[in-house]
Symmetry: C2
Subunit: 380 residues, 2 copies
């Protein structure tokens, strides 16, 4: 039954070649800027490309401050710390995400607490979330406590899955009602907006990734976004080993992290950002082509941005109505030269996270057997 | 009294220009390899330069396995975890080192326990260390316990300060007698050996840094060294989010870290490594010139490798017999265009580490007022 579907999707690509999930393309000033960085000898943690990249990211996203770091995981880790996550806190996050979302919580000594996702956006389901918090939490002295574990719940960590904005406005309302902070995992959603505002700028802090598989890459890299000037300064401080500026003295005023983005990586990023608009155009056109190809196919739809959202369509995704045999389908795709992949194994199913507190995972477990990512790379 | 000294040291540099502490130089294949990485599109966590860099580092140091990571701090963190450091353990380390040495201990949830350094190598004083462990520790069921805090002491973390090998053989003996593991902080000592063996390969694991201020740079980067095949594999696994290899499934079998070195940074490192021998020749010649310049100067000596050691002379250091007024001297140096700096503020004096357990800090506190690093950069 899948042969027809695969053939339709294959026809989108006007090439005989294998097409991967995502690959970076470097057709702009990448070599020029990186060469400049090398010739300047500023390749490391200080340099003009780091400053420029931070300004470019802030300007593009509309965040007051952007701090460039070594990867998206580091951006999440520091964002959570600055949002006040303390040891033994619980942080609410979806299970349908990359492991780094939960790992960053654990780096803070906190406990990932998984909540269900929804079909429409693949992000946190706000209706379920509110009901769940009503059931399991108490307010004690302005703090939300998990009635069962007696631990403080401090932060909601929504994810914009595959670049598709989640229902961040409803999540912000819930956060306000339950006195929680919001940190956005916008690792995948550079270029995605909700009601015209860039993802990652709604919460107190947000984290972007520039890994090689993202819409814009710095080799490895990430950024912390915030609209609070003071938090931005703290983010810079914490990611540069908490060193107090001095001409020659080495004084660190707290436990810091070596999370700086090197200038050579920022140089690559500056050139990539210049291309971002064209990448977004390509991704949107690809969405249209896949959608046409799916015309008439029953039991399957293409993930699509909501009314209030604009997706960067970083990774295109199929959502099937019924449970599919993933291995059969993926083998078929791969035989046709289409580098598809399933959604992540849900995090609450991973051995090291299996004991984490969680809500009903009804939708998450349904989705996992129904979602397949399609090749989304741009061919030169 | 210092004018004469400063003038002598200034005369070493056959230039009128300001001379900094250290700057990288890129006169080899740096742009070529980095350009290759960009054109291949492999700029991120997988790529041929990462593999080659790891092989080059293993081959150069003689370590069975080298794992390239995002920086020296990450290399230390993972090395400590793999050496068995657990939450609430104590790790013995010098106070006279960069903050990252202690921070890496804290990332494991463990407690830095500072021990004194010695004049000869600026590293851990083995005589004091043995006596101190005799005094403060008990053996309980094959485990070394701090009698006062009741915590397990699990690892000794010696540092090869400024590239100068510490007395690693004596430290290994103490570790054996007290059933402790050794992790070497070789962040500064690429190219330094002890009895012909490369620093960082004596302990169970060792950490190297390729930060921009080191003898070889990858922009930002580090490496984990080990002679244990299994530990090397675990190091690779833990630094790549503990993802279990699969064609498309995302399964992570434990809490992992996003500590991979990007291929673009490894490309820079491969080119830099080709130059390492010439850097070492330069650094050693510079040592000779400084030593000549200090001829006849009283009350001060140049840090020098011990009989059994070969230093990379990464950062040249003056050691004064008497306490000096550092600010006066450093101002004088800077006015003469010599970018000197004092030793680090000892870590046990930093507010966030002030409550850490520690031995007598007699030598450390004396040294801090007597050590100045000299410009050690290579001028093209």
């Amino acid at each position: 039954m899948f042969e027809d579907l695969v053939a339709s999707l294959r026809s989108v690509w006007e090439t005989e070649k294998d097409v991967g999930l995502h690959e970076p393309i470097f057709i702009g000033n990448e070599e020029k800027y990186v060469g400049e960085a090398i010739r300047s000898t500023y390749v490391s943690s200080v340099g003009p490309f780091v400053d420029r990249f931070e300004e470019d990211i802030a300007s593009y996203t509309g965040a007051k401050k952007a701090v460039a770091v070594v990867n998206g995981t580091a951006a999440l880790h520091i964002s959570l710390l600055l949002a006040g996550v303390r040891e033994n806190d619980e942080v609410l996050l979806p299970s349908l995400t990359f492991a780094a979302t939960a790992n960053a919580v654990m780096y803070c000594g906190a406990i990932p607490h998984f909540v269900d996702s929804e079909y429409e956006t693949l992000g946190i389901d706000p209706i379920n979330l509110r009901q769940y918090l009503d059931e399991i939490s108490d307010q004690e002295g302005g703090v939300t406590i998990n009635k069962k574990t007696k631990r403080r719940i401090s932060v909601i960590l929504p994810v914009h899955v595959f670049g598709n904005p989640c229902k961040i406005d409803q999540i912000l309302e819930i956060a306000k009602d339950f006195k929680l902070e919001v940190v956005e995992d916008a690792a995948e959603s550079l270029g995605s907006t909700y009601r015209g505002q860039h993802t990652g700028t709604f919460g107190l802090l947000g984290a972007i990734s520039f890994n090689g598989n993202k819409i814009v890459t710095t080799g490895g890299g990430g950024a912390i976004l915030t609209n609070e000037e003071e938090l931005g300064q703290m983010a810079k401080h914490l990611t540069t080993t908490a060193k107090v500026p001095h001409r020659w003295e080495y004084v660190h005023d707290q436990l810091g992290y070596n999370y700086r983005m090197p200038n050579i990586n920022a140089a690559l990023g500056c050139a990539q950002l210049e291309q971002l608009e064209s990448y977004l155009v390509f991704k949107r056109e690809l969405f249209g082509k896949y959608k046409n190809a799916l015309n008439g196919q029953k039991g399957v739809r293409l993930m699509q941005e909501g009314n209030s959202a604009k997706s960067n369509y970083w990774l295109q995704a199929l959502v099937f109505d019924q449970k599919i045999n993933k291995d059969d389908l993926l083998n078929l795709f791969h035989e046709s030269g289409l580098g598809c992949r399933p959604a992540w194994k849900p995090l609450h199913k991973l051995p090291y996270l299996a004991d984490s507190p969680k809500s009903s995972m009804l939708n998450t477990e349904l989705l996992v057997d129904r979602v397949i990512n399609l090749p989304s790379m741009q061919i030169n």
